[in-house]
Amino acid sequence: MVDDELAGVFREELRDLLDSLERGLLDLKAAPQDMGLVNQVFRDLHTVKGSGAMFGFVELAAFIHRFETLFDRVRGGEVPVSAELIRLALAARDEIPGLVDGVADPEGRRDAILAGLGALAEGTAEPAAAVPVATPLVTPLVTGPALLEFRLLGEALGLGARPEVVLAELRAMGAEGIVADLADVPPLDLLEPDQCHIVWRMRLPAAVTEAQVEDVFLFTDAEWKLVRALPEGEGFAFELGEGAGEEAGEEAGAGAGAGGGAVAAPAGAGPLAQVAATPVQAASVLQAVASAVAEGPAVVAAAATIRVPAERLDALMDAVGELVIVEARLTELARQSRDPALMSTAEQITRLAAGLRDATMTMRMVPMRSLVGRFRRLISGLSDNLGKPVSFNVQGEDTELDKTVIEKLADPLVHVLRNAIDHGMETAEERQSSGKPQTGMIELSAEHAGAEVLIRVRDDGRGMDPARIRAKAVAQGIIAPDAVLTEAQVFALVFEPGFSTATEVTELSGRGVGMDVVRRTIESLRGAIEIESTLGSGTSVTLRLPLTLAIIEGLLVEVAGEKYTLPMAMVQEIVALPPDRALPKRTGDFLDIRGRFVPFLRLRGLFDCAGEPGAEQNVVIVATGENRVGIVVDRIVGTNQTVIKQMSKLHAGVRAVSGATILGDGSVALILDVGHLIGLGRGTGPAGFAGMAFAEVAA
């Protein structure tokens, strides 16, 4: 069919396009009136179709064609954006990779989706709908729902009728796909503020009786109509009554001339407040849309980029890593030779190697944005499934991280986000009764802090209950009943294997696998994870990750003749160990650093080194965030470029070491895991180790 290389290029492109499409659809769900988004979705579809056809994916092109047709109508204002439309469009998007890979569709899923999309597109192709009016929606697979439409009559609004209350009642009866038809809304200067010009249409469950509907409108002067047993394929030809139909037609002509077309505000997609509930609001919605249209499609500047297979970047990084090591060796030899020509050449090599290193590392940086798309989808899906309305905010999408870190970060973040919505978030009712807004908030933020990136998932849910976690940990035998733990240590218990406080195992979480895997993954990236939580007002999970996994600036230290490297970015200062502290004492080891007490660890003791320390020892003060710990070493050797090599799985149990590096003389120096050492020093590390550290410090 197509040669593999071309098909590969297409697949690469397709992945980006599908991401963009998904993002566009999800954004559209939140902002259904945004014509810019509709245009973007249309463009993406069009590109997929075009490239698909070009590369010979005929079936794909045919599938997209029908998908695209629908969006063409949306673009023309003929079909409103609704929750149902977004749902089907996302389902259709998910079929695209299968079509490209030639995966069969025995269940007829694709046909069903296309039929659904077709029904949406053609709903307005009926006579009355040459008019750009809103269309009620129907799922073709469901038969027999009753369709209801109503409008408030005459002075109803002026007399205090509240359409939002009526809609809420209808929704409680099971109304779905609520659509507001704004076709009759007159231009602003002709608008009568106390008249309602909106017609609402919706689907009601088949079980709803006329009498029930009548009850809803008992105190409201409204005209309503319930249509049942819609014959299949007939569309949604609501009979609006002759006058109404004609009026709508005229209105439509005027509206279309105005550029934006009359726009339907779907209600299903969002909270009621989004529905234009009064004519005044409706008018402002129309204006907003008109201005959005006037702005036109955003000009997308295509930067000149080149696609490179990830393996080639990895190979380049490896080569640069070797170069940095050899360069260190060369510098060492040049210094020993004292040959000025050789020394100056070595200096130039050093400079070039540093430039090459920086350029290579920059190439490997990927913005967080590449991950966020799938999170939006996840949150949106979970929010719907669990019936917990949630708004998802993302801050700092442009924050860049090494691609390896980004790749490995996806799963842990999915887990943390799931927990936030599944465990952390209350239901809308619970939120209301505790005085919070019904819609919960989940925020994902990313920011640089020194040589680290902080990624934070914050929710305004129910928070974590230290007492409950503690009780659970005792019940599960993770801690002893009389264990004395700080709040931070209690929260850290959720990372213990087998820990789960969920009283019920839900489909999503609560099996107690997961948080320990999250911690392990983050630690394998030389990162750390922290939890802060306030009962009743929310939880914040912070991931601290190194900017890069490849090369760092290191501080080389010596302890009993052995060399170790500390990440320079975590080193705050170096002080001499006061002579009276040269040997460990019975009481706790603290240093007074400008009036603040900083605990410290002796590497000689911790690493079980032979011999006695010399007369002069140094303390390297390292920090993550607010936590500072001193590390006592014999000697500071200097700073160096540290090419990080992973430790073997055989050494996975050595928590104090996060990696290794090769020095200029060819020997191996271990890279100390500063986060772990700080945990030891502060006694917040894993329970078993904390005791050991204190014993060491006190011994």
């Binding site: 052995e562 073997s648 055989l650 050494h651 996975a652 149990g653 050595v654 191996v668 271990l670």
Partner: protein, 160 residues
């Protein structure tokens, strides 16, 4: 690995080496290179079985002491000692691992029919770490089950 798996082939190529007074044979397929002793770096807290790492052509490779796993008494190292770099599956992924040998003898092709299971009685070696043994020129040659030995170590390390 079971002896039966090894015996699916009629012949296997092995490298024989000395650990203390014991002779061992390792499948030549696993062997990447044999090196003269290198400067080693101690890994604090790593335990006696894999106490060090070494630099093998720019890779940091763990250096294991099989005497610990197999319960072979230590002997004085001399100028014959070598480091063998092996590629062994660890948790399903190939990984470089170095082992210390007090001497490396030869690469030999051995009839698998001559190999036997470890006798159930009178075994001073841990049976779970040995595939079997065969009779060589100067006594019995042990066939260590390296994947089993190293997998046990990774499981222990992960649990720590």
């Amino acid at each position: 690995m079971k002896l039966a798996v090894l015996q699916q082939k009629e012949q296997v190529t092995l490298v024989t080496l000395a650990l203390g007074s014991q002779t061992l044979a390792i499948s030549a397929d696993l062997l990447r290179e044999i090196l003269d002793p290198l400067p080693v770096t101690r890994v604090p807290g790593a335990g006696a079985f894999v106490p060090h790492v070494v630099n093998v052509r720019g890779s940091v490779v763990p250096l294991a002491n099989l005497k610990i796993a197999l319960g072979i008494p230590d002997a004085e190292a001399d100028e014959r000692s070598r480091i063998l770099v092996l590629e062994i599956p660890l948790d399903g992924e190939p990984a470089l691992v170095a082992i210390q040998a007090d001497a490396v003898y030869e690469v030999a092709t051995i009839e698998t029919g001559a190999m036997e299971r470890l006798p159930d009685t009178a075994s001073i070696w841990p049976p779970e770490y040995l595939i079997g043994l065969y009779k060589g020129a100067d006594g019995f040659v042990l066939l260590p089950d390296l994947p089993a030995i190293f997998s046990a170590q990774t499981a222990q390390a992960a649990a720590a």
